[in-house]
C-alpha cells in the first residue's frame, strides 16, 4: 500500500512541466523518496501521527491559481512593508505580490549565477535521507523561491512569503524555499500558510532550507494557520556557520494532519539558536512538531521554548531532540516544553530528548503537562470575570510570553487577536486580551 503511494507520487512528478536544470536534484529526490521505508505505527518518528490522510487520497498536482480571492482572504494578509510573494494553490499571483529585490527570485526566473547557488545549496542543508517529506519535495521539485544575500548584505524590508490554499480538493502543493545568507548578511523572513475556505482539503508540503553564513543573522517566522481539513507536512532545515544566529518563531493550529520538522545544525562555533514555538490544536485537530538540534562544534548555544494549548479532543505531539556531538564542548543548550490541556479529552505526547556525547556542556530540558489552574480561575471569577472569559484569558496567558517575544511588531499585532480567537470565538471573550 505504502510503496504504491510512493509510486503514485513519482507518477505525479512526471506530469509537470519542469525546469531542466533541476533534473539532477529531482532525480536524487526521487531516489531518496523511493528508498525511504514507508512509516508504520512502529516507526518512532511517526508513532503518534497517522499518515492515512495522505495515503487515502488520489492526489493531483495543484496547478491553477484562482483568479479571484474572497476579500476575507486578502484581509488575512499581514499588513506591513515587506517584499511580498503570494502563491495561491502553489501558483504565483504576481498581482498580489510586490516588487522584489534582485536577491529574491523564483526558481523559474533564476539567472545562471542564481541557478548555481540553488544547485549548490539545495538538499545540502536538508538531509532528505532522514526527512521523508523533504525527499518528496525534491522529487516534485519545480517551483520554488530563492533569497540569496551576498556578503554583509542587509535586506531593507522583511521578506513575506504567503501560501494560500483555496478549495484545493485533493490537490497537492509543493512549496520550496531556499534562504542563503552569505557571511555577515541579515534578513527577516515570514512564511505564512493559510486557507481561504474552511473545507479546503488540499495538502501542502513545504520545505525551507536556510544556510546562514558566518556572522550572518536570520530571523525566521513560520505561521501555519490552515483549515482543519487541510494537510500540511513540511520542514525547516537550518545550517549555522561560525557565529551565525537563527531566531525562529513558529505557530500552528492543527488539522487532519499537520507535521512540521525543524532540523538545525550548529556547524560553526559560536553560533546561536533561539527557537520559539506555539501549537494550538482544538476540535479534532492534530499537530506534530518534531525538532532536532545538532551541536556539532564547540561553543554554540541553543534556547528552545515550545508551548501548546490543546483544547477539546485535539491531540498534539512534541518531540524535541538536542544532540550534542563529541566535539561540541562548551555547549549551552536549554529546551522547555509546556502544555496546557483545557479539556479532559485533550491529549499531548511530549518527549524531550537530550543525547550528549561531550563532557563539558551545560544542558537542561523539561516538559510539563497541566490543566487550567483552579485557583487562578477562581481568582479571576472572584473579580467579576465570567468563567468563560477567565478560561480564555488563562489560555492566552499561557502562550502570551512567546507572542510578546515576537519582535516583528506587525506580526505580533496581527497574531494577538488570531490566537485569542482560537480560545474564544466571540469578541466578548477576547476583547480584554486584544489591545495595542
Amino acid at each position: 500500500m505504502a510503496a504504491e503511494f510512493q509510486q503514485q507520487a513519482i507518477a505525479l512528478a512526471s506530469q509537470q512541466s519542469v525546469l531542466g536544470w533541476l533534473n539532477d536534484a529531482r532525480e536524487q529526490g526521487q531516489l531518496a523518496w523511493n528508498t525511504h521505508a514507508w512509516p508504520t505505527r512502529k516507526t518512532e518518528a511517526w508513532r503518534y501521527t497517522s499518515l492515512l490522510p495522505v495515503e487515502n487520497e488520489q492526489w493531483q498536482l495543484s496547478d491553477t491559481a484562482s483568479d479571484t480571492l474572497p476579500q476575507s482572504a486578502l484581509a488575512e494578509l499581514i499588513e506591513f512593508d515587506a517584499y511580498r510573494l503570494v502563491f495561491v494553490n502553489g501558483q504565483l499571483r504576481a498581482d498580489l505580490s510586490s516588487d522584489l529585490p534582485a536577491s529574491l527570485v523564483l526558481f523559474a526566473d533564476a539567472n545562471a549565477d542564481q541557478q548555481s547557488v540553488i544547485k549548490q545549496h539545495l538538499n545540502q542543508v536538508a538531509d532528505q535521507q532522514v526527512h521523508l517529506f523533504t525527499a518528496l519535495s525534491s522529487s516534485l521539485l519545480n517551483q520554488g523561491a530563492l533569497l540569496h544575500l551576498s556578503k554583509n548584505q542587509r535586506l531593507e524590508k522583511p521578506v513575506y512569503i504567503v501560501h494560500i490554499n483555496d478549495k484545493a480538493n485533493a490537490k497537492v502543493t509543493n512549496a520550496r524555499l531556499l534562504l542563503v545568507l552569505e557571511s555577515g548578511a541579515e534578513a527577516q523572513v515570514v512564511e505564512h500558510f493559510f486557507s481561504t475556505d474552511d473545507q479546503d482539503r488540499g495538502w501542502i508540503n513545504a520545505v525551507t532550507e536556510c544556510s546562514v553564513g558566518a556572522n550572518a543573522s536570520l530571523r525566521h517566522h513560520r505561521i501555519n494557520l490552515e483549515s482543519e481539513q487541510a494537510l500540511h507536512t513540511g520542514a525547516v532545515h537550518v545550517a549555522l556557520a561560525e557565529s551565525a544566529r537563527f531566531n525562529g518563531f513558529t505557530v500552528a493550529n492543527g488539522s487532519r494532519l499537520k507535521r512540521i520538522d525543524y532540523h538545525i545544525k550548529h556547524l560553526g562555533s559560536g553560533s546561536d539558536l533561539q527557537l520559539n514555538g506555539i501549537y494550538l490544536p482544538r476540535h479534532q485537530q492534530r499537530v506534530d512538531y518534531h525538532t532536532c538540534v545538532e551541536h556539532v562544534v564547540p561553543h554554540c548555544t541553543t534556547t528552545e521554548v515550545f508551548r501548546g494549548v490543546i483544547a477539546d479532543s485535539a491531540r498534539a505531539v512534541f518531540n524535541g531532540r538536542i544532540h550534542i556531538h563529541q566535539d561540541a564542548q562548551k555547549t549551552l543548550a536549554e529546551m522547555s516544553n509546556r502544555n496546557l490541556l483545557t479539556s479532559d479529552q485533550a491529549q499531548v505526547n511530549t518527549k524531550p530528548e537530550l543525547e550528549i556525547y561531550a563532557d563539558d556542556v551545560r544542558c537542561a530540558h523539561g516538559a510539563t503537562v497541566s490543566q487550567l489552574n483552579d485557583e487562578a480561575l477562581f481568582y479571576l471569577t472572584s473579580r467579576g470575570i465570567s468563567e468563560a472569559e477567565a478560561r480564555v484569558m488563562l489560555s492566552f496567558g499561557f502562550v502570551n510570553e512567546l507572542v510578546e517575544g515576537v519582535e516583528l511588531e506587525a506580526l505580533q499585532q496581527w497574531l494577538r487577536p488570531r490566537i485569542a480567537h482560537m480560545f474564544g470565538q466571540s469578541d466578548q471573550l477576547t476583547r480584554h486580551i486584544i489591545h495595542e
Partner: protein
C-alpha cells in the same frame, strides 16, 4: 448589607463553619479575629463562592439576595469583594487586563457605562499611586513575582477600582511593613462610606488602630464565640484566645 444565619459550611466533607451568624449593616466595619485554623478564610471563601467550599445549611442574604445562589462572578459584580490571604500569581495575564475586565464586568452589571481605555488607564494609575505601587506593576503579570507586601497592595488596588459594597479583607495586613500597613489603611479608610461595609480578618490589633472597627468578633472552631467593640481586640492582644476557648467549653 449582609446577614448570615446559622451558616454551616464544609470543605472536602469536613465541617469547618458551624452555625455561624453575623449581621453587617451598611457602613459598618467588622473585625474578625481568631486562632489559626478557626475558619476565618473559609468564611471569606464561602462568601465569595469558591468552588469546593460548600454551605450545607443556614442562609446568607446579601443586599436582599440569596448570596449562596449566585455564581462567584455575579457576587463580585453585585459588589462583594474578597482580598485574598494568598493572592494568586497568573503569569501571562497582565494586571491591567484583569483590572479592565473586572471593572467592565462590574460596571456593565450595574448599568454604568463602560470606561474608555484612556479614562480607565487614568483611574488605574491613580489607584496604583494610592497604594504606592509603581505604574509598571499594571503591565506585569498578575501578582507574578510580586513580594508579599506588593501582592497585598495589589489586592487593595483592585478593590479600589471595583468599588465594591462589601469588602472582605483576609489578613491583608500580614506581611506588610509598617509604612505599607499605613498605605493600606489609608486606602481602606478613604473608601469607607455609609453604604459600604468591611469585614476585616486580622491577627493583629495594630491594624485596628488604623482601621477602627465598629465590632470585633472572635471566630474559633467555626463559630463566633465572642463579640464586642474595639476594646475586645486589645483584650485579645493581652490575653490570647485560650481564656475564650475555656469560657466556651
Amino acid at each position: 448589607m449582609l446577614t448570615i444565619k446559622d451558616l454551616c459550611a464544609s470543605v472536602e466533607d469536613k465541617e469547618i463553619i458551624r452555625q455561624l451568624s453575623l449581621e453587617v449593616k451598611p457602613g459598618e466595619v467588622h473585625a474578625i479575629m481568631g486562632p489559626n485554623g478557626a475558619g476565618k478564610s473559609t468564611l471569606g471563601n464561602v462568601l465569595a463562592g469558591r468552588p469546593g467550599y460548600e454551605a450545607t445549611s443556614g442562609s446568607v442574604d446579601f443586599k436582599g439576595q440569596d448570596l449562596l445562589d449566585l455564581d462567584p462572578e455575579i457576587r463580585a459584580r453585585e459588589g462583594l469583594f474578597l482580598a485574598f490571604q494568598y493572592p494568586v500569581e497568573i503569569p501571562g495575564v497582565s494586571n491591567m487586563e484583569l483590572l479592565k475586565a473586572a471593572v467592565d464586568a462590574r460596571r456593565s452589571h450595574t448599568g454604568q457605562p463602560e470606561l474608555s481605555a484612556i479614562d480607565f488607564m487614568k483611574m488605574a494609575r491613580e489607584a496604583s499611586k494610592a497604594v504606592d505601587l509603581d505604574q509598571s506593576f499594571l503591565k506585569r503579570g498578575v501578582n507574578e513575582g510580586f513580594s508579599g507586601g506588593e501582592k497585598k497592595r495589589n489586592e487593595i488596588m483592585q478593590m479600589m477600582l471595583m468599588e465594591p459594597s462589601l469588602c472582605i479583607l483576609d489578613e491583608t495586613d500580614s506581611g506588610l511593613d509598617i509604612d505599607a500597613l499605613q498605605v493600606v489603611a489609608k486606602g481602606v479608610n478613604a473608601m469607607r462610606s455609609p453604604d459600604r461595609s468591611f469585614i476585616v480578618v486580622t491577627h493583629y490589633q495594630r491594624l485596628l488602630d488604623f482601621i477602627v472597627p465598629d465590632y470585633v468578633h472572635v471566630l474559633a472552631n467555626g463559630r463566633i464565640v465572642k463579640s464586642g467593640d474595639k476594646s475586645l481586640a486589645l483584650e485579645l492582644e493581652a490575653k490570647g484566645y485560650s481564656w475564650l476557648e475555656d469560657e466556651v467549653a
